[in-house]
């Protein structure tokens, strides 16, 4: 039982970081109807921004965190302006967006390899390694912080989307861009806002992922997991993205803990395919009818 709880808490922690990534994916998908495969590159840059903030600039953790998240929000906006806005203006088919996203992703990865180098770098030890004991349960401090900060960010995002005027504009635009514009909503600003929010969450995820493992140029590949989680939960649905991510994190750690870590990704993909066979729109996805 203790081992199960232990695995569960680990799973929740990594699942919450997947959720940050998956929500960024889903936000963009809900507005633009395409998967932003360059999101992983933004997460990778977030990890590097945090790393250089702490090492080269010697900033305290909070300042490095702000630098990383503000930096990725900005990168995400610039990415949208360069890679997607020209396509939006020409009303290009969505395949072009995917190609542009892949190009941007390759650019970011290789740019970092060329300028910083391909070798993984460890984050400086900021969070003490010794776990907090609750009864027989040993909670890693970093895992706890990851979970709490991620959950906090997601809660703030939900409040923003549900309670503010701009949040309403995002919801309306996710449903229909033309109808939103007819309400007087500047849909171009909504797109920028969505990329900024996704970029901010990518920064948080990047810093945590770098702290938990290491920083390296292909760190963005991890977003494949969050993409699976987003599809699993239902692309375009934010609660679905969170649910899918947490489930994926928990399933992964349980498989790694009880079976073998070599089967971890195999099982994750099997579950994805299984869910999509039964429910092509994911657990909480929009039905095809109401998007038409």
């Amino acid at each position: 039982m203790i081992q199960f709880l232990q695995q569960l808490t680990n799973g929740l922690s990594i699942g919450s970081v997947y959720a940050l990534m998956a929500v960024g994916y889903s936000l963009v998908y809900s507005i633009m109807n395409f998967s932003n495969f360059a999101h992983g590159g933004v997460i990778m840059l977030g990890a590097y921004f945090g790393f250089f903030g702490l090492t080269t600039f010697g900033l305290p953790f909070a300042a490095a965190f702000v630098l990383a998240t503000a930096g990725t929000a900005l990168v995400a906006i610039v990415l949208e302006r360069i890679a997607y806005k020209p396509l939006r203006d020409r009303k290009a088919p969505f395949l072009y967006f995917i190609i542009s996203a892949m190009g941007a992703s390759m650019f970011l990865e290789n740019f970092v390899i060329a300028t910083i180098g391909p070798n993984p770098k460890p984050y400086p030890p900021i969070i003490p390694r010794e776990p907090i004991a609750i009864g027989q349960l040993a909670l890693g401090r970093l895992d706890l912080i990851m979970f709490l900060v991620s959950a906090g960010c997601l809660a703030l995002l939900v409040l923003f989307i549900e309670r503010t005027r701009l949040g309403k504009a995002i919801q309306a635009s996710a449903y229909n861009m033309k109808a939103s514009a007819l309400m007087g909503i500047n849909t171009d600003s909504v797109v920028i806002l969505v990329f900024a929010l996704g970029g901010f969450l990518a920064g948080v995820a990047g810093v945590f992922y770098g702290m938990k493992y290491m920083v390296y140029p292909t760190i963005g590949n991890i977003t494949l997991k969050s993409f699976i989680a987003a599809v699993f939960g239902g692309l375009g649905s934010l609660p679905g993205a969170v649910l899918g991510s947490v489930l994926l994190g928990v399933i992964e750690t349980l498989v790694a803990g009880y079976l073998s870590s070599q089967y971890r990704d195999l099982i994750a993909f099997v579950i994805l395919i299984g869910v999509l066979i039964v429910r092509p729109t994911g657990i909480m996805g929009k039905t095809v009818e109401d998007k038409a």
């Binding site: 309306a172 449903y175 033309k178 109808a179 309400m183 007087g184 500047n186 849909t187 109401d290």
Partner: protein, 239 residues
């Protein structure tokens, strides 16, 4: 109030409007009739800022109309789009409140909400219902009510009777007259030429991107070529 001067619009490689000019005076109902593909919706989308003008210009209250949809709304033109485009995932009331997105005066918004419910008692009954579950006629009313919530003075309506049962078609045209009675000006695009000409003060006939006829609605309705092309016999259109 609205002056469209010699506008040309192309999209998807097709020249959809080839020099269209028209005007709408305050308090009027002006209708544009024409066959499918004549460019009626294109014209409304060009006014609303969704399509770029190749040439020509559009004046609203003697000033150039902005070229971005949200700014056109801000300028005071609202648009009931073809196909209604209600927010099917939101309640009726939330849909109407989205119409007031640009407005800050809560008292005025509440007053207009009551006005819309007065116009559409059906929507009041269903204000907590999710818009996607409404019937086609109710969604059309919601789209009209939502446009009115922007408090625009000029209402563009794109095929409001499309796909509705004959009884509802009459209701929609009754409501158009009531909306005018609220002090709004209406530019109406319709395939149901018979009803549209009955409701309108003036009419334009659009054919293949060009205005081929214009005048008082009664005159256009009496024109033999219009009768032949768009009206058929009264009995099969009166619905």
């Amino acid at each position: 109030m609205l002056t469209v001067r010699d506008i040309h619009v192309s999209y998807g490689g097709i020249r959809a409007l080839k020099g269209v000019s028209l005007r709408v005076e305050k308090g009027e109902i002006v209708t544009i009739i024409g066959a499918n593909g004549a460019g009626k919706s294109t014209l409304l989308n060009a006014i609303s800022g969704f399509l770029r003008l190749g040439s020509g210009d559009i004046l609203y209250q003697d000033k150039p109309l902005p070229k971005r949809p949200d700014r056109v709304v801000r300028a005071g033109i609202c648009h009931v789009p073809e196909g209604r485009l209600v927010f099917a995932n939101l309640t009726v009331e939330d849909n109407l409140r989205m119409g007031a997105y640009l407005r800050r005066d809560k008292a005025a918004i509440a007053a207009d909400l009551e006005k819309v419910f007065g116009l559409f008692p059906r929507l009041k009954e269903r204000q907590r219902q999710i818009a996607g579950t409404l019937s086609g006629g109710e969604q059309q009313m919601l789209a009209m009510g939502r446009a009115l919530m922007t408090d625009g003075d000029l209402v563009l309506m794109d095929e409001p009777s499309l796909g509705l049962a004959p009884l509802l078609v009459q209701t929609v045209f009754d409501i158009i007259l009531e909306i005018r009675a609220l002090g709004k000006t209406i530019l109406l695009v319709e395939q149901n030429a018979y009803k549209a000409l009955d409701a309108a003060d003036r009419a334009y006939v659009l054919e293949q991107g060009r205005i081929v006829k214009e005048g008082p609605a009664a005159e256009v309705k009496a024109d033999p070529s219009v009768r032949a092309a768009y009206l058929g016999t009264e009995s099969n259109q009166a619905g």
